[in-house]
């Protein structure tokens, strides 16, 4: 085969050129592009970003109607209510995290890139948090006012939600990756993921309550941070393994 050599040196040249250009450079480019792509995709379908926020506000509206408009009563249950409602809102958008990519074949391609899959998965989770967890955290204080949440706990509420929803996105992504190949994965996803959310809920709502009592909010936030660090360390591997399983379903 006379032409064999004509392609190979070129290929080698390309590979070595990339190798010389700092190996992490390629990964950084891929991660940045994935982040940007997912952000652009979600910004073009803005309703997907807004739906969880509307859901959050709606659920919070249901409680005074269902229980009582009494401000004192609402104030006592507000930290838990806000946290549970935010958690459910974050859960709502999880199912679509990988589903679009699964349906149109992009996920297959993502698995076949020479880049580490856990990192690429992490980029997708980061976008989910940026467009779900973070807006929920920013919106929560407003709803807190409506539930007569005692003053002095608003900052802790937002910070605890920002930290906590990041863990929720990471843990939830494992469930989303496991169920992405299933046509009726939505309800199953909540069944898998909600029990794993409990520690985050305990320390998240605990932080707000501690802030109201005026003591120990920092300790709670520190534990939320520790949970996030643990999730950051372990979840990407579980997400990658789950995606590989789902793609072969």
């Amino acid at each position: 085969m006379p032409n064999t050599e004509s392609l190979s040196p070129a290929t080698e040249g390309r590979t070595s050129a990339r190798g010389a250009r700092e190996p992490a450079g390629g990964l950084a480019v891929a991660l940045w592009a994935t982040l940007r792509r997912d952000l652009v995709l979600l910004m073009r379908r803005r309703s997907e970003v807004l739906n969880p926020l509307v859901f959050f506000a709606l659920v919070i509206t249901l409680f005074p109607i269902g229980i009582s408009p009494d401000p004192d009563l609402l104030a006592t249950i507000a930290p838990g209510l806000l946290w549970v409602a935010a958690l459910l809102a974050a859960l709502l958008s999880l199912d679509s995290l990988f589903r679009g990519d699964f349906d149109d074949g992009s996920l297959e391609q993502l698995l076949l890139t020479p880049q580490p899959l856990p990192m690429l998965g992490l980029a997708k989770v980061a976008v989910h948090w940026l467009l779900t967890g973070l807006p929920l955290a920013l919106m929560a204080p407003v709803l807190g006012i409506m539930l007569s949440l005692p003053a002095g706990s608003y900052l802790v509420l937002a910070v605890s939600l920002a930290l906590g929803t990041a863990s929720l996105s990471l843990i939830g992504a494992i469930g989303a990756a496991l169920t992405v190949g299933l046509s009726r994965g939505g309800v199953l996803l909540s069944l898998l993921v909600l029990p794993l959310y409990i520690p985050v809920l305990i320390f998240g709502a605990g932080a707000v309550q501690a802030a109201i009592l005026g003591d120990g909010a920092l300790a709670h936030l520190a534990i939320l941070g520790a949970l996030l660090a643990l999730a950051l360390m372990l979840a990407p591997w579980a997400i990658a393994a789950s995606l590989r399983i789902s793609i072969n379903g």
Partner: protein, 246 residues
């Protein structure tokens, strides 16, 4: 070690060896549970605070132990399946899950029954019971996930990953629930709060725990054996076996 792992790859070998192991565990389970329950229910002294109602720990504690151990075993089996692709491990994990869920339920139910004379109510958000309830949900999740896939290989792998994720989370859940409970309620009675237990009380408890474990092993061996036959029903050795039986 490696030879053992290689042997485990053969369902036929496991089928033969488990046939020999199984009777010992059945005998041990029956004897231990019988002695333990008669001793615990009839001869152990009554608790000076709770009277006779404490005796429910002879069911509650072993089932709670087992509920947690089975989840860990399931995760270990899942790891073995994922790393060495040993199908027996997955079959065992699949067979363990319903038993684990059942044990969790038994421990929850016995805890609720114990609550009636002690707390005067069927349910308290006691730290231990709450953790158990969450464990039950974890079991149900694993079982549901396994059932949701149409391809059995994918189902096995997905259930293995979820069991491993769950087992990492169990201690975190347990400690956070304990923390949550102590924050919200000063500890009153907890079902296993006692520090020092007289010998006549804990020996039958130990027997019951060992008996429950033997029961778990025996039942898992038995169910795994029938699962082997089901999954390997088109292999020659299973067909030969069926012909012999006839």
């Amino acid at each position: 070690m490696w030879a053992f792992i290689n042997k485990l790859r053969s369902p036929k070998w496991f089928y033969a060896i488990s046939a020999r192991l199984q009777p010992f565990f059945w005998v041990a389970a029956t004897a231990l549970i019988l002695v333990g329950s008669v001793w615990g229910l009839a001869f152990a002294p009554a608790d000076y605070q709770q009277g006779n109602s404490f005796r429910i720990i002879y069911v509650h504690v072993p089932s709670a132990f087992l509920a947690q151990s089975i989840f860990v075993s399931m995760a270990v089996a899942g790891l073995v399946y994922m790393v060495w692709k040993i199908k027996i491990a997955d079959m065992a994990a699949a067979m363990m899950a319903p038993l684990g869920a059942a044990m969790t339920f038994v421990s929850l139910f016995s805890g609720a029954v114990w609550g009636v004379p002690t707390w005067g109510t069927w349910w308290m958000w006691d730290a231990r019971l709450t953790s158990m309830l969450i464990l039950l949900f974890l079991y149900l999740g694993v079982i549901a996930l396994r059932g949701a896939f149409s391809s059995r290989d994918s189902a096995s792998r997905a259930a293995s990953v979820l069991a491993m994720v769950g087992v990492i989370n169990i201690p975190i859940i347990k400690y956070s629930v304990d923390w949550w409970y102590t924050l919200h309620q000063p500890a009153t009675f907890t079902i296993t709060g006692r520090v020092a237990m007289p010998t006549e009380m804990w020996v039958p408890l130990l027997l019951m725990v060992l008996g429950f474990y033997s029961f778990f092993i025996a039942l898992t061996l038995m169910r795994t054996r029938s699962e082997i036959l089901r999954r390997e029903s088109n292999k020659r050795w299973v067909r030969d076996l069926a012909l012999e039986e006839r």
